[in-house]
């Protein structure tokens, strides 16, 4: 079976003024569909850059990036945006909810942007699974960190993305809420065979994944 994520000699170089900063120095990665993969490594090793490239937020400098059979290196920004809209869900360390919208609208906006309209059955199933039925009319400032992250997870998976990319999803949570969020990610992976690639510093979180990849200096240490 073809892997859902496949990178080969993936490089990403940022230019800061006249200085070139290599963030990824040749990453080879294969993730089969339905796998829960954790990527661990020290700060500045390129984990977040890898996530951004795999999510189509930024273009690779060189190398091959195949996500669900689509070659990102051959796509322009508009194509990657369209792909992201339909195939990728993001969960961020800082939750990144829209502060002016209620939890309900924060989730619904993902469906709206995708353009397939509001699916009430999917919406209901997700909010029940994440236990946020009673919080839907609250704005982010009225939710705890754990609740905000659950809303963010709901937003990320409401459109049934092929891949869920989570960037330190427990980084801003206490241990109790961290465990709740991790259990939910695990549940999503098991119940819906949701492919998840999670970046984490937390060894307990990484341990929950099917496989842990380690990065250092822009390269994978172990696959």
């Amino acid at each position: 079976m073809e892997p859902i994520i496949l990178t080969s000699d993936l490089k990403k170089i940022y230019r800061i003024g006249k200085v070139e900063v290599p963030a990824l120095r040749g990453v080879d990665l294969v993730v089969p569909e339905g796998e829960f993969v954790a990527v661990a490594g020290p700060s500045g090793c390129g984990k977040s850059t890898l996530l951004h490239v795999l999510g189509g937020l930024t273009a690779p400098t060189s190398g091959k990036v195949l996500v669900d059979g689509n070659d990102f290196s051959a796509m322009n920004d508009a194509d990657r945006t369209r792909f992201r809209r339909h195939k990728i869900g993001f969960v961020f360390q800082r939750f990144n909810l829209l502060p002016t919208l209620t939890a309900r609208n924060n989730i619904a906006i993902a469906q709206h942007i995708q353009g397939n309209g509001f699916n009430p059955h999917r919406f209901q199933a997700i909010v029940e699974m994440l236990g946020i039925q009673g919080k839907l009319n609250h704005r982010p400032y009225a939710l705890s960190g754990g609740e905000q992250q659950r809303v963010a997870i709901a937003r990320a998976v409401i459109c049934e993305p092929k891949i869920l990319l989570a960037d330190e999803p427990t980084g801003n949570l206490d241990s109790e809420n961290s465990q709740i969020v991790l259990n939910m990610l695990r549940g999503l992976n098991r119940s819906f065979r949701q492919t998840i690639l999670m970046i984490t510093h937390n060894p307990d979180a990484a341990a929950l994944a099917d496989r842990v990849l380690r990065m250092r200096d822009g390269r994978m240490l172990l696959d």
């Binding site: 951004h52 919208l101 942007i113």
Partner: protein, 367 residues
């Protein structure tokens, strides 16, 4: 959903939203009031001239159509000549026009009662009556209301003290009327008139009468009343059009700058939110549409506030200054709205483009 977002965003920063709406309202109000006052004064003056009831107007050679700017008065006997010699001319009203610039600009008509009555059909008196002496003055009701004047009161014009003998219904040429002889003395002229209002035996003979008058007075501007009143348009006053255009430009610039600054601040403040939308797959056109809708909502509310505010301002102005005519036409209400919308779109386009082209990774990292 976009509408919900736009409304939520506007409510999130109520002060900024209100200030932006007010700026658009001021833009709309400035355009409407400027145009309304200038065209209002012109059309009101034209209506008053029309209200005299004459069919033809004769002015001296080289005279401006604006009554206060008539340089050289004509011999008054021309009027008698026209009455006697020109076919279809029933009555001629000679008027010596004086312009009073003390305490506001006012046109004063020097008139004879008999000729005035013959051409106009006479005043409708609200109180008092005709002149009984050389120092008497008749004022119209709006002038009296503006100055809280009553019959018997003194009124000083041209450093000359007049006694108000009558307050009349407005709409008979000027707002102030004095005896012709007094006007001549004040003007240091004798048997002179600035303008002749000619009444035909029948309005149907107007063209024939004009031809007849032109035979006697070939160098004098002779116009029918319809032709004369049609001159009271801003197109015949180039400086006025320039003034209106300059004010419209200023108003448009105010609207443009306020919307530009407001939307620019908005997208700077919401850089992270734009990054979030981009991470969800929002396209450049989606982001642009959001910003432009937000600006358009501000603009629509501003237009509504501006137009309602202008109607209110007109009411206040007209109750405080009864002689001030403010003409608000649907045409200019639409034009002011279109101008405001144009300024808004221009002001919002650059911030919207900037928002749409933000790098999603940089936007998400924005603090």
């Amino acid at each position: 959903m976009e509408t919900k977002m736009v409304i939520s965003n506007l409510l999130h920063r109520p002060t900024r939203t209100i200030i932006s709406i007010l700026a658009v309202a001021i833009e709309v109000g400035l355009v409407m009031l400027t145009v309304g006052m200038t065209t209002g004064m012109l059309s009101e003056t034209a209506r008053r001239v029309e209200g005299i009831g004459a069919d033809i107007i004769v002015q001296p050679p080289g005279a401006s159509f604006l009554m206060g700017f008539t340089p050289a008065p004509m011999p008054i006997k021309i009027g008698d000549l026209l009455e006697e010699k020109v076919e279809h001319v029933a009555h001629v009203l000679p008027v010596l026009i004086l312009m009073n610039v003390g305490g506001g600009v006012n046109i004063v008509f020097g008139i004879n009662r008999e000729q005035f009555d013959a051409v106009t059909g006479g005043f409708v008196f609200h109180s008092g009556g005709w002149f009984t002496g050389p120092d008497d003055i008749i004022v119209d009701d709006l002038y009296a209301k503006a100055g809280h004047l009553k019959v018997g009161q003194k009124l000083t014009l041209f450093s000359h003290s007049f006694r108000i003998t009558g307050i009349v219904e407005h709409g008979k040429g000027a707002r102030l009327f004095i005896p012709l002889q007094t006007a001549e003395e004040l003007n240091q002229t004798q048997d002179k008139a600035s303008i002749f209002f000619v009444k035909c035996t029948d309005p149907g003979y107007t063209d024939d009468a004009i031809s007849g008058i032109r035979q006697f007075l070939p160098t004098y501007p002779v116009r029918s009343m319809a032709e004369y009143t049609s001159l009271y348009s801003s197109n015949n006053l180039p400086a006025l059009n320039t003034f209106i255009e300059a004010l419209i430009c200023i108003a448009l610039t105010i609207g443009f700058l306020v919307i530009f600054l407001s939307m620019y601040t908005t997208i700077t403040e919401r850089t992270r939110e734009i990054g979030i939308l981009k991470s969800l797959g929002a396209s450049k056109s989606y982001i642009m549409s959001l910003i432009l809708r937000e600006a358009a909502t501000i603009c629509v509310l501003g237009i509504a506030a501006g137009e309602v505010g202008t109607l209110g301002a007109r009411r206040v102005l007209q109750s405080s200054f009864p002689t001030l005519a403010v003409r608000l036409t649907p045409h200019w209400m639409v034009y002011a709205a279109v101008l405001a919308m144009g300024g808004t779109v221009l002001g919002a386009v650059y911030p919207a483009l900037r928002a749409a082209s933000l790098d999603p990774v940089d936007a998400l990292a924005y603090e």
